[in-house]
Amino acid sequence: MSADFQALYITVKLALVTTVLLLLVSPPIAWWLAHSKNRYRTIAEALVALPLVLPPTVLGFYLLLAFSPQYFPGALWQDISGQSLAFSFTGLVIGSMIYSLPFVVQPLQSGFATLGVKELEAGATMGMSRLQRFRYIVVPMTKRSFMLAATLGFAHTMGEFGVVLMIGGNIPGETQVISIALFEHVEALEYQQAHIMAGGLMVFSMVLLLFIYGYLNRSQGKHQQTRFW
């Protein structure tokens, strides 16, 4: 069971790191996608969405190729860091980021797109720079989208399986995440451990989600005096 706890730890760590990094990377992408009139935008949009459509194992397979020192990206990384990306935590983070990118970008983009332009204009005439408008207007007004993006990104990384299966190498304490450990139990016919673990994961996830949604619901729409929600 200690190995299982280790897997849980790795999983949560992976999900956290991935989500935090994605929350840094995604807003500019989402903003650009939501508001650019550039003609390459549609292509960029489709590219971001691609990991959604590709089966994760296939994505993992191509990542495995990309990470290989035989090919350019992997060789470059090896030159810089002296280490291999495959079967390392860093590799998992990169894989997860690509895999979960659309889950963070798309809710943000959707939030940004429906955000009225009125308050932004008001901010600009007050002298707010682009960054200030983002900080003082966009973020608070699309708080829900940010929370949704973070939840989707985190949850999706938690449940990630195919990519990790391909590029993780199932090394306990390093790359063995909970979905893999669980799968291993099922495949090894250790059903009881599998049930315990799945149950635990379910409870953990429920608690986490209850916490997030509880917070979201509490902080929302205090001033709405209306029958039309």
């Binding site: 204009e121 002298g127 200030q132 003082y136």
Partner: protein, 281 residues
């Protein structure tokens, strides 16, 4: 301080085409019927319009070129230092009134706003609202807060788009006085539909119609041009023998008649079928 505006632009089907060069001092009135292009003009001055190709724009303020479509100059709205009170107030609903105001001060990056916080809050009559969430405010309260917010940003020029429309008579008088006083520090362009408001507050006046400037000049010059031409009236006395006609009028829908002035009379005008006129026939 001088403002030069030269525009030839389309908003949808609507064309705005005007040339304007005016000395900024006190409150300058902008007057015109609904859809005349007043808001569009303000948006152009503030730098809120997407400049499309083939559209001409040249805007200079205080010697600085803010926009020049030919030289491809476009100073972004946030660097123009031109305040804007929007027709639809546009407060930040996720903040309290106080937070809306302090954000404006913070953004302006001045240690002290041009007009002190206390003065603005008192002048706009919003002391009792400070701790309220902007979302719960009534329309008139929102407008006053929007004016306060714009003033606390200490802009070089303030554009006011019907800032008093949703206010009651008293608040309006109070604010008219306050704006008048403040305009000595911050010059303003002021859109209003109220003839009296315009005449009380503004000098000179700009008259817009169909996206063009119809007239521009001092209050005295333009007072007669203002669309205070028609009014309803109820006949109280009529002597067919002497031709003496006495009318009962409501003062503020009334033109300013001078003794000796010739006026026209229309028996059943199409533009006015109010009960007052039709009731007794």
């Amino acid at each position: 301080m001088q403002l030069t505006v030269h525009l030839d632009q389309y908003f949808g089907q609507f064309r705005i085409e005007l040339q304007l060069c005016i000395k900024l001092r006190g409150i300058i009135g902008v007057f015109g019927t609904s859809g005349a292009g007043k808001t569009s003009l303000f948006r152009a001055i503030a730098g809120l319009n997407q400049s499309a190709p083939n559209q001409l724009s040249l805007i200079k303020l205080d010697g600085n070129t803010l926009e020049d479509s030919q030289k491809k100059v476009f100073v972004e709205a946030e660097h123009r230092n031109i305040g804007f009170v929007f027709q639809d107030s546009r407060l930040f609903n996720h903040l309290t009134v106080e937070q809306n105001l302090s954000l404006a001060i913070k953004i302006s990056q001045r240690k002290e706003p041009l007009i002190s916080y206390q003065d603005v809050v008192q002048g706009c009559g919003i002391e009792p609202l400070l701790t309220q969430s902007a979302e719960g405010l009534s329309a008139g309260q929102r407008q006053r807060v929007a004016i306060a917010r714009a003033l606390l940003g200490s802009p070089k020029l303030l554009l006011l788009d019907e800032p008093l429309a949703a206010l009651d008579h008293d608040s309006r008088q109070h604010l008219v006085a306050f704006l008048n006083q403040v305009s000595e520090l911050i010059p303003m362009l002021f859109i209003s539909h109220s003839v009296s408001e315009t005449l009380t507050l503004c000098d000179p006046l700009i008259l817009l119609e169909g996206g063009r400037i119809k007239a521009i000049g001092s209050r005295e010059q333009l007072a007669e041009t203002l669309p205070k031409r028609r009014a309803s009236a109820v006949v109280t006395e009529f002597d067919p023998e002497t031709g003496k006609l006495c009318l009962d009028t409501i003062p503020d829908l009334l033109p300013e008649f001078k003794p000796g002035q010739r006026i026209g009379i229309v028996a059943e005008p199409s533009w006015l079928k109010s009960r007052e006129l039709t009731r007794d026939d």
